[in-house]
């Protein structure tokens, strides 16, 4: 629940549908098409006849920028060139900013000949928003950051009566186009609960029309309920894709679906399937502290996952969550017979019932007892909160019954004591 990236395609479509309300001169061509691995390209061309009649631009739409510099931008191309570009790039694995991933989604739109490239973006701060504008847009904007003007707009400002002109550089002939455009864009930003919007660059055509060329945007997804008529339609909500190269694994998808079903929170990110250290920590704050401590003490490479469960999940959901982790920890090869560690951690809960959630975890442990023993898994537990004594006792009994080594710590040990103990164990300082 927070600021979420959206596809460039969706961002452009949202702006196209909303901007004319505030800036009627905005006449967007609305010629946008996504080509992904499933698209029948010939059918796409048939559906979008402009692809044949106009020169086009093709670029990946997977939440990363600097596509020109990465040679992933096809400009001023004809239809055949477009097809070639799509065929040769779709499904191609490449590395973008140290992340490897496959190109899966391309955006096609008409090529707009232009001379000047402008920059505009809007960001949010505590007491207001900031409009950033520059004449020097495009790929060199970062190098020319000193030429960007930053105009703070206090929260709840009526932008229509706001003196934007007085705070902008001399816009010359373009003043009558740029000022209403930026004001309109700001209204869309506010109205649609954008959290970030960057158009870099946009062009002004010969007939004085503004065309956004590259767009990057984040929406505040908590505002979804306010936008059922645009991007928050519950039947067909806008997509919040994962970053490039971060397609969710089966296990992550399963937990995500579980999370969406309940009022509780269940999160899982797999970091290293071969890792020897896995965590199942209760609470958003505590899970961060556990992960930190493992990294701070130098064991980040061993860490299998990041995740958390909180908000008093049901026993059943906790069991599914625990089972997913146990499957992961026991699936990874363990050729050297090295010990593996599962840390079932957490702070002192306000209201999550320790006994009930532990009953779910224990049920998963018991069902997988043989697997856990074969994989040489040692479990560390630390937890407090309602029914903590019964919960910890349940864990102790489970250790005795199954023969799985389970070390248990209560509220009188530091919250991250299991991490310290695990490291002692790894270093052989029992």
């Amino acid at each position: 629940m927070a600021q979420k990236n959206i596809y460039e395609y969706d961002a452009k479509r949202l702006i196209a549908s909303e901007l004319a309300k505030y800036y009627p001169e905005f006449k967007y061509h609305n010629k946008l098409a996504v080509i992904d691995c499933e698209t029948d390209i010939d059918k796409a061309i048939a559906d979008n006849s402009w692809m044949k009649t106009e020169k086009v631009v093709v670029k990946p739409d997977q939440l990363f920028g600097k596509r020109g510099k990465a040679n992933l931008l096809l400009l001023d191309a004809n239809c055949d060139e477009m097809k070639d570009f799509c065929y040769s790039n779709l499904n191609r694995v490449c590395e973008i900013g140290n992340v490897r991933g496959a190109l899966k989604r391309l955006l096609v739109e008409p090529f707009i000949p232009h001379e000047k490239e402008y920059y505009v973006s809007i960001t949010t701060e505590r007491d207001g928003d900031v409009i950033h504008f520059s004449f020097e847009g495009g790929i060199f904007v970062e190098e020319n950051w000193d030429k960007v003007v930053h105009i703070p707009i206090p929260i709840e400002t009526d932008i229509t009566t706001f003196d934007l002109e007085g705070k902008m550089p001399d816009l010359g002939d373009s003043n009558n186009i740029l000022i209403p455009f930026i004001k309109g864009l700001y209204q869309v930003f506010v109205d649609q609960d954008f959290a970030f919007l960057e158009i870099n660059p946009f062009a002004i055509t010969e007939d004085n029309k503004i065309v956004p060329l590259d767009v990057k945007a984040r929406l505040d997804d908590t505002a979804m309920f306010l936008h059922a008529d645009t991007w928050g339609n519950p039947e067909n909500p806008i997509e919040f894709p994962a970053g490039f190269g971060q397609e969710l694994s089966l296990e992550e998808v399963r937990i995500k679906e579980l999370d969406e079903k309940t009022g509780a929170s269940l999160k899982l990110t797999i970091l290293n399937r071969e890792g020897n250290v896995w965590t199942m920590v209760a609470g958003g704050g505590a899970s961060v502290v556990y992960t930190d401590t493992i990294a701070d003490l130098g064991f980040s490479e061993e860490l299998g996952n990041y995740g958390e469960y909180s908000g008093n999940p049901s026993q059943e959901h906790t069991e599914i969550y625990a089972q997913t982790l146990i499957d992961l920890i026991t699936k990874a090869p363990n050729l050297k017979g090295k010990e593996k560690f599962l840390i079932i951690g957490g702070g002192i809960a306000n209201f999550t019932d320790v006994k009930a959630t532990f009953a779910g975890i224990v049920s998963a442990i018991k069902k997988s007892a043989d697997k856990l023993k074969q994989a040489n898994v040692k479990i560390f537990v630390r937890r407090g909160g309602p029914n903590e004594k019964q919960g910890l006792e349940l864990m102790r009994q489970t250790g005795e019954e199954t023969g799985i080594p389970i070390e248990i710590y209560d509220r009188y040990s530091s919250m991250t004591r299991p991490v310290a103990r695990m490291i002692e164990e790894i270093r052989g300082e029992k």
Partner: protein, 611 residues
């Protein structure tokens, strides 16, 4: 109250939302803190119909009531000294309700519990708060606690935890964090390493919290009762740099131990939501390492990792004690809260007799049961109404012929035209504009000794005759001389031996075919032979036949004679008539209602007016 204080031990809150558990927890806290009055003045429940309702809560071992208002406006008017609103509204309505509270004259602090309040709405709220010199705690928080004085809603969990964390009396440490879960952990850790917290606030995990870490740290700095500060920051945003600046310009002079969590973000995929909504580093400045480093350089006490945080806090505290800057808080025994009855039952500490014994049905499980049989089975196996009556009336699975007999009786008694007293009364009442239940009840109320009563009376006397071993002539004489009434169930206005009642024929036919024995019917038919020899309309009528054959039914089931006595005593026979006839009476009521029939008035010419 001093400007650096949000709460004291007189503070009272208005709770937005009907929140029975948090309210009870607040009052339990109040009680062990020996507060003079409860910390909850009222609740708001916009969905209720009444302007004011009342909710019972415990204050120690006694019960008190807390008013529940329909509107905040009214609550504020009635409780002008309540200056805190704890807002349990959902993320959808948190904005409107918080705004309303901020715009009142009396509410000074608004706590927003909901997670998922849109960021722009939060920012508008904090602007209003700033303009009106008010404080917001949250959104997305459990709240906070001022030890020994005031507890927000669910903060600090169970009573046991409050006692272990010594939150019932103030210590010397001011604590603030983003995370509500960790604040509970930290309250206990601080109680273990120092004399405990003085005040502890969780500002919530959002990107734009209503009040920031620095806002609370500055309050703690100004409060002479607080001797050291502890803070837990978080990756993302630049809030902690406000603390850096404040340290640098000397506005915080008390020792401050602080740790910014999220140092592991570098090993996680970029853009991953790490814990809370606000926890995402947008730039290198927003990383946990950068913040910890900057804080350390500005003079804050920063541990190497969270694992060392407790030691650092302990050392800092002990140094302050040695320097004489802290006089450790005195330990005191807080009053005991009586165990909740349900909890005591769970623990097996108390028992209580029940008031009612019920043996026919149970609705406590997943599926209601009738005499132990699940309603789901009854429906799936397509059981008859006769079967259901057997379960609920006689606690038995009746055999097929008994089910059929009961259903036959219901059919036979379902209606007897509009003129009989039950239907007549029902029609008149319906036409007087009364509702279905009233009209039906007025019809049912006519059932008794003269209308429908022959059924149970016929059964009663024939049974008596058989029990006493009378023969038919003796019985007729007994009824005439001793009981001194006509034999119930014998005689018909129109029907006669030559013109028999088809309903009676059907009943007799069924009984002869399906019942192994039928002594009551046999006896009654002997009696009928004698009576019809006197007059041909002194036949066994349908009421009598139902009553008598019902006795035979019981004979054919596995009822003991005591059980049969119970069935008759409990008026099961009247029950059959009431059940059957209700169908017909409702038919008449619906008929009149469909026609929108007007008020019935008996015509004068049907009445003889006389002296």
């Amino acid at each position: 109250m001093e400007s650096y204080e949000l709460f004291n031990s007189d503070t009272q809150a208005i709770i937005y939302g009907f929140q029975a558990n948090p309210v009870q927890r607040m009052l339990d806290f109040d009680y062990i803190c020996k507060r003079k009055k409860p910390s909850v003045a009222a609740m708001i429940r916009p969905t209720q119909e009444a302007a004011i309702a009342y909710h019972k809560v415990f204050w120690g071992s006694k019960e008190i009531v807390i008013p529940i208002y329909k509107t905040l406006q009214m609550a504020v008017k009635k409780h002008p000294s309540a200056d805190v609103m704890i807002n349990f509204a959902s993320f959808r309505s948190a904005y409107d309700t918080s705004k309303e509270a901020l715009e009142t004259d009396t509410i000074r602090v608004v706590v927003i519990i909901a997670e998922g309040v849109p960021e722009r709405q939060s920012r508008i709220l904090l602007k209003i708060a700033e303009e009106r010199n008010k404080v917001i705690i949250g959104p997305a928080t459990v709240g906070g606690i001022k030890a020994g004085a005031f507890k927000i809603a669910n903060t600090a969990g169970t009573l046991e935890n409050i006692l272990l964390s010594k939150l019932y009396r103030p210590g010397s440490v001011g604590f603030v964090s983003k995370s509500g879960g960790l604040s509970n952990e930290m309250n206990f850790m601080i109680a273990q390493t120092t004399d405990g917290v003085y005040e502890s606030i969780a500002i919530g995990g959002d990107r734009y919290p209503g009040s920031r870490l620095i806002d609370h740290l500055l309050r703690y700095e100004a409060n002479p009762n607080i001797k050291m500060l502890v803070c837990l920051g978080e990756i993302g945003g630049t809030e902690e740099y406000e603390i850096v600046d404040t340290l640098k310009n000397g506005k915080i002079t008390k020792p401050i131990a602080i740790w910014v969590t999220g140092t592991a973000a570098k090993i996680l995929p970029k853009g991953l939501q790490f814990g809370h909504a606000g926890a995402m580093a947008g730039s290198s400045k927003e990383t946990a390492e950068a913040k910890n480093q900057a804080l350390k350089e500005a003079g804050a006490l920063v541990p190497e990792s969270y694992e060392d945080f407790d030691k650092l806090i302990k050392e800092t505290y002990e140094k302050l004690v040695q320097e004489g800057k802290i006089k450790p808080a005195k330990e005191e025994e807080p009053p005991k809260i009586p165990t909740d009855f349900n909890e005591a039952v769970r623990l097996g500490l108390v028992r209580r007799p029940t008031d009612v014994v019920v043996t026919v049905s149970d609705d406590r499980g997943d599926v209601p049961t009738f005499a132990g049989v699940g309603l789901d089975n009854i429906v799936r196996e397509n059981r008859s109404i006769g079967y259901v009556i057997g379960l609920l009336w006689f606690k038995r699975e009746l055999p097929e012929f008994a089910q059929q007999f009961i259903e036959m009786v219901i059919k036979l008694t379902a209606d007897h035209g509009p003129a009989v007293s039950g239907a007549h009364n029902a029609i008149i009442t319906a036409r007087a504009g009364k509702d279905l239940m009233s009209a039906l009840a007025s019809g049912i109320l006519t059932i008794g000794p003269r209308f429908g009563g022959a059924i149970s009376d016929a059964a009663k006397y024939i049974r008596e005759a058989l029990q006493k071993g009378m023969n038919p002539p003796e019985f007729i004489k007994y009824m005439k001389d001793v009981v001194q009434i006509n034999i119930p169930g014998i005689g018909h206005r129109i029907k006669s031996v030559q013109n028999p009642d088809v309903r009676v024929l059907l009943l007799k036919e069924f009984v002869f075919k399906n019942f192994k024995k039928h002594p009551h019917l046999d006896f009654a038919l002997e009696v009928e032979k004698l009576t019809t020899s006197k007059r041909n309309n002194l036949i066994l009528n349908v009421d009598g036949c139902i009553g008598i054959t019902f006795l035979d039914l019981l004979e054919n089931l596995d009822f003991t004679s005591e059980e049969i006595e119970d069935v008759i005593y409990s008026e099961a026979l009247n029950g059959l008539f009431v059940l059957g006839r209700s169908i017909g009476m409702m038919g008449h009521i619906f008929d009149q209602k469909r026609q929108r029939a007007g008020l019935y008035r008996q015509p004068w010419d049907e009445i003889l007016f006389s002296e």
